[in-house]
Symmetry: C2
Subunit: 207 residues, 2 copies
DNA sequence: CAATAAACGAAGGGAACTCCTCCGCTAAAG
DNA sequence: CTTTAGCGGAGGAGTTCCCTTCGTTTATTG
């Protein structure tokens, strides 16, 4: 595969991930090509049809979260640290929101997809079980809670917040979520600055 | 104003709120009318143009949160209880996500809009200051954090989760957020059941 | 219950967008 | 330098949306 082809392939996956998160599974493929900076024909040549593209995006997302979970479990002795590490790593991938968005429009029985989902879920459940065994994670927190929280935190916010602001806020709120609101849970500082919602102008292009 | 006119007015506001949250400020007005169960002409007769409709939706949303804050402060002696009460009330309104979505496309200097924003922000800041004075709310939590959290929690989730499931999960995650993940912060049970993310089929129409 | 005015829904022309294929050009690789 | 994989854009068919016009329905009042 030629170098430019491989580069365009990656660009298309990233653009598709963003556009699908913003516009849902019916998003315009011309918009995807536009944002990737390639011609529409390149998208169709590379992926054939919408389903193939969606499948590739989801597989890349699932693979990333699997690696993040494995790494978090390997690099942290404390399961709670591993959980925090996992959540922040997944936020850095910026791919969690695309998974429920596109799974809904895909065939869940496709073998590679089903396998990736199972692996991903199993790893996080192991991680949670280990954390539960320490007794320091509340018992009613489930895999669904963690997954959904990651989706909520990684989705683009409505309004004109620049990507870097959104990314910093996602980590900040992950910290808040992990540590809790109670004062006696606030030994660690939050990882980013607060946002002033009354100062929208600061984030707008030209007003 | 005739009874059917008033009913349609309200239906249009609710439909517009939902559609704008889902599709952004450029959402199709025909879709709004469709979902409200009225003809497209009724929408234009009632609101004239897109800006007027958006303005009305945001004003209704801001008014609701203002009332929720006043009620929460009046009904709770403990400022932390008031904060929790406020957050759950706002989630019940299902209007928080539409505010940043539409504010971005509106004239922030319009007097009634500016006044409502100021009032809303001031009330929540009072509420937070009172909570901070008790020493039981971590000091680095701001109005922006609370507002943004409410936006994150009230947005529709990607995928095929039915509205009642989404609503229950919003309250559950608000509890989690308020109480924190730590075991010693888990005296109160969560307000809804957990979600099994591996069981998507259960939430889909016909598979 | 009749009269009337308010309110309604649907149709439709024009503009914009999207899909997906075809084809001539560009530039990477040997 | 040559070859061929890879590229971008044009474009016809189809869809959606905007917003107005107009004939019909229905809530209200006497």
């Amino acid at each position: 595969m030629r170098a430019d082809a491989r580069r365009n392939h990656q660009r298309l996956l990233e653009a598709a991930r963003d556009v699908f998160v913003e516009q849902g599974p019916g998003a315009s493929l011309e918009e995807v090509a536009r944002r990737a900076g390639v011609g529409i024909a390149t998208l169709y040549r590379r992926f054939g049809d919408r389903d193939t593209l969606m499948h590739a995006v989801v597989m890349q997302a699932l693979t990333g979260t699997i690696e993040a979970a494995e790494r978090a479990m390997r690099d942290n002795l404390d399961p709670l640290d591993a959980l925090a590490d996992y959540m922040h790593s997944v936020l850095d991938l910026r791919t969690s929101a695309v998974i429920p968005t596109l799974l809904d429009a895909l065939d869940l029985h496709e073998p590679r997809l089903a396998a990736a989902r199972t692996t991903s879920a199993r790893l996080v459940e192991e991680l949670l079980e280990a954390a539960h065994r320490t007794g320091r994670l509340r018992k009613d927190v489930t895999f669904g809670d963690i997954g959904l929280l990651l989706v909520r935190l990684s989705r683009p916010l409505p309004g004109a917040f620049p990507p870097d602001v959104q990314h910093a806020l996602a980590h900040r709120h992950a910290d808040l979520f992990l540590a809790g609101l109670r004062a006696d849970a606030a030994e660690r500082p939050l990882s980013g600055p607060a946002l002033d919602l009354t100062d929208l102008q600061r984030h707008r292009p030209d007003t």
